[in-house]
């Protein structure tokens, strides 16, 4: 390995990147765009759910219940309808997420036979929003019910046993305001790195083959290892700049807390980038066609990162075989590290396992990267 040749090779790549404004644009604009878009677009918080009411009774009791729904920040009472048909139409055309149906004998049932039930019809197509909506409605109705019971017991002169019932006092750690943005944004960083890394490197070798410049490169005294490092160093630098950009946007624009240390972030990002770039290189060297190289690169980097890394979809909820596969996905470790650094502020010791896994991946991918290219030189 000669330092002179390596520097020459890296310089050539740098110049090539600089002279291709589009790839530079991808490298610098894409991360910003992605962060902004995903940071704003990816939210699972369900607030102000559009609610339709079909009040069959229209009594004081039913109005009192509806007041409870109105008071909740989770629901926006949009309209009242007078039949099931209109309600069904509203749900079908996505004008509302849920409908509350108060039966015509609501107050009678509450007064005479004790229990009245309120129908809550939820659009179940989006199961997550539906689940949240059911949870919130349950809380509203339980609150109303407790109030009615309390009044009744007092007027009857009976002791209010368990009248207050249980109060659940949640203490939320690491993400105190339960903002889905805080949970998503650190993961997006991994996504952006995987995307940019894969997109850029996967094409570097394939491009030389397709343009016919590879023969020229082979005829120079440069060794295969120098080609690999020389090609990857510029992208590594770009990737680190991107990472800094992403982290800055996350912390200053989206106001996601950062509780870890910067050097840990830099170290783990470097490890992750090394893995992504090496994998991109292997693919690029193995496939001489740009189209094939880029689509395969996406399949092994972006797809697993967006699905199996746990950045948005919790790994614990996946079926056992898929959970086993996630251990093979290198981005899984990086996402865990990012979330820990941003939200939990744990130190290097707690993340030792993840860091080791990333390092092992970097070594393996680096090994294959050197091999992959040597073969094609012959």
């Amino acid at each position: 390995m000669s330092a002179g040749r390596l520097i020459a090779m890296a310089r050539k790549e740098f110049i090539q990147i600089r002279r291709d404004p589009r790839s530079l644009l991808i490298a610098l604009l894409l991360p910003i765009m992605q962060m902004a878009l995903l940071g704003y677009g990816i939210s699972l918080d369900a607030k102000h759910l559009a609610l339709y009411v079909y009040d069959q009774e229209g009594s004081q009791d039913s109005q009192a219940l509806l007041k409870h729904f109105q008071a909740s920040q989770y629901f926006d009472l949009i309209r009242t309808v007078n039949n099931y048909h209109d309600l069904k139409r509203a749900i079908d055309s996505e004008q509302c997420k849920l409908g509350v149906v108060i039966p015509f004998d609501f107050s009678k049932r509450i007064r005479d036979s004790g229990s009245a039930s309120v129908q809550v019809i939820v659009d179940g197509t989006d199961d997550n929003t539906a689940n949240l909506a059911i949870g919130y409605s349950q809380a509203v109705i339980a609150d109303y019910s407790a109030g009615v019971q309390h009044d009744w017991l007092t007027t009857q002169g009976l002791p209010v046993a368990g009248g207050g019932g249980l109060s659940i006092e949640p203490r939320t750690w690491f993400n105190e305001d339960l903002e889905s943005r805080n949970f998503i944004v650190p993961g997006i960083m991994a996504l952006v790195m995987a995307l940019v890394g894969a997109l850029l490197t996967s094409l570097t070798i394939a491009r030389e083959w397709e343009r016919g410049t590879m023969e020229q490169l082979i005829s120079t005294p440069v060794t295969s290892r120098e080609v690999m490092l020389g090609k990857l160093i510029p992208y590594f630098v770009l990737g680190m700049i991107d990472a800094a950009l992403c982290a800055a946007i996350g912390v200053w624009w989206f106001e996601v807390p950062f509780r870890g240390t910067v050097w840990m972030l830099a170290l783990t990002t470097a490890l992750f980038l090394a893995v992504v770039l090496a994998i991109g290189f292997v693919i690029s060297a193995g496939l001489k066609n740009q189209l094939a190289a880029s689509s395969i690169a996406l399949m092994v980097t972006l797809l697993p990162t967006s699905l199996l890394s746990g950045y948005a979809f919790p790994i614990e909820q996946m079926p056992a075989p898929i959970r086993a596969i996630t251990y093979l996905i290198y981005s899984r470790y990086y996402v865990t590290i990012l979330k820990a650094l941003f939200l939990k502020g744990v130190g290097a010791r707690a993340l030792l396992g993840e860091m080791t896994a990333l390092a092992v991946y970097a070594v393996i991918a680096g090994f294959f990267a050197t091999r992959a290219f040597r073969k094609t030189l012959v």
């Binding site: 079908d92 129908q119 809550v120 939820v122 929003t129 019910s145 019932g165 203490r171």
Partner: protein, 377 residues
């Protein structure tokens, strides 16, 4: 004219058939993505690892704990003796939440006072935390209700039946088990179709330009419109086949019901494909190499996915972003897909989506055709 288009079609299909990678791209990859996505993409919350700190050790506290576990949502991860141990378990990731029942829990209940139950949650994943807290609220409310009824039965049996209460009768329509797969499978169908058809169209022209065969095509008597049709019709057909393939995987493998009218789906798919082909054409006019086409595709795809409501609800986005979603054809197509698969709605409900896709398709097509003619000169 049609003869020349026909020959171009034959040429495109021959090229597609001879390309081994295209086969992987068109058949294997969509199936694989569909299967992984179907299993991995879920926001459901079950098996929450829960640590229980029971300071009360009463019948009541044990009853409450057993209700949490019996719900199937929570799994007992351990019985730490104090808060520090529970905290340690959450920090190390051995538990996602801890439920703490204080010493005077049963006593407070019997006195008719409010008995607090503290819940410590690892809320790094805010969504799972919120849903889990929702379940805890439901179980807690049911517990309090039953406790009250029980108490009345003992104290004043005559009154017990009269005590008023309001309960909730939940009816999740279209997806009674709130199965995540039913939500995601139609979404993946739309996204896959977009990626495949857009890339194929863009590459079909850019490749010829890059290899230099576009000049050969230009010297033939073919006219720009014919060339354009010849380059898009094959991918329209491929797009329809692709939708059929992923729909088969979704219904046969994941058992997502198809309740609507196939003709409505066909109409929606055709309209969506027109706008997708137009975007592909547009990219091809902007790029001279495949690499550029591929990267430009990304500039379109990421916003298209994010704004479509494919996994993350549009209603949760900031207002400005919600406006932007109206420019995304995929947004409308997903409504059509979910509408036909799950809701069995017809044109009377879906016409606004159809009109919007037709309008967007017409505008995009007009832009790309104009640019396409110029780029050939």
């Amino acid at each position: 004219m049609w003869r020349r288009i026909y020959h171009l079609l034959v040429k495109e299909f021959l090229q597609l058939r001879r390309n081994k990678e295209a086969r992987i791209h068109l058949i294997l990859l969509p199936i694989l993505q569909m299967v992984i996505f179907g299993y991995a993409a879920t926001f459901e919350v079950t098996r929450v690892a829960t640590a229980v700190i029971d300071f009360d050790h009463s019948q009541e506290s044990r009853e409450l704990i057993s209700r949490f576990i019996a719900s199937g949502r929570f799994q007992l991860a351990g019985l730490p003796a104090n808060r520090e141990e529970a905290r340690e378990m959450i920090d190390r990731g051995r538990a996602d939440m801890a439920i703490q029942i204080n010493p005077r829990f049963a006593e407070l209940l019997r006195k008719g006072q409010t008995a607090p139950v503290q819940v410590l949650v690892d809320a790094a994943n805010s969504n799972s935390a919120l849903i889990a807290l929702g379940y805890i609220g439901q179980i807690g409310a049911r517990f309090a209700q039953d406790y009250q009824t029980d108490y009345m039965n003992r104290l004043a049996p005559r009154y017990a039946a009269l005590m008023p209460s309001a309960t909730m009768d939940e009816r999740p329509w279209y997806n009674p088990d709130l199965d995540s797969q039913w939500f995601f499978v139609p979404g993946v169908m739309g996204s896959l179709t977009l990626v495949i058809v857009m890339n194929l169209t863009a590459f079909a022209i850019v490749r010829e330009r890059e290899i230099g065969t576009l000049e050969q095509v230009m010297v033939t008597p073919i006219r720009p419109v014919e060339l354009m049709l010849g380059k898009t019709i094959p991918y329209f057909i491929v797009g329809l086949a692709e939708v059929a393939l992923v729909a088969a995987v979704g219904t046969l493998w994941f058992q997502v019901p198809f309740r609507g009218n196939p003709l409505v789906l066909l109409a929606g798919t055709s309209l969506f494909l027109i706008s997708t082909l137009a975007v592909g054409l547009l990219i091809s006019t902007l790029c001279s190499t495949q690499q550029q086409a591929f990267a430009s595709g990304f500039f379109y795809l990421t916003p298209a996915f994010t704004l479509s409501g494919f996994a993350f609800p549009i209603a949760s986005m900031p207002t400005v972003m919600q406006w932007l979603t109206y420019l995304d054809p995929l947004r409308y197509y997903l409504v059509v897909l979910r509408g036909t698969f799950l809701k069995a709605v017809g044109m009377d409900i879906l016409w606004p989506q159809m009109v919007a896709m037709a309008l967007l398709g017409a505008v995009l097509l007009a832009i790309s055709v104009t640019r396409f003619r110029k780029s050939l000169d």
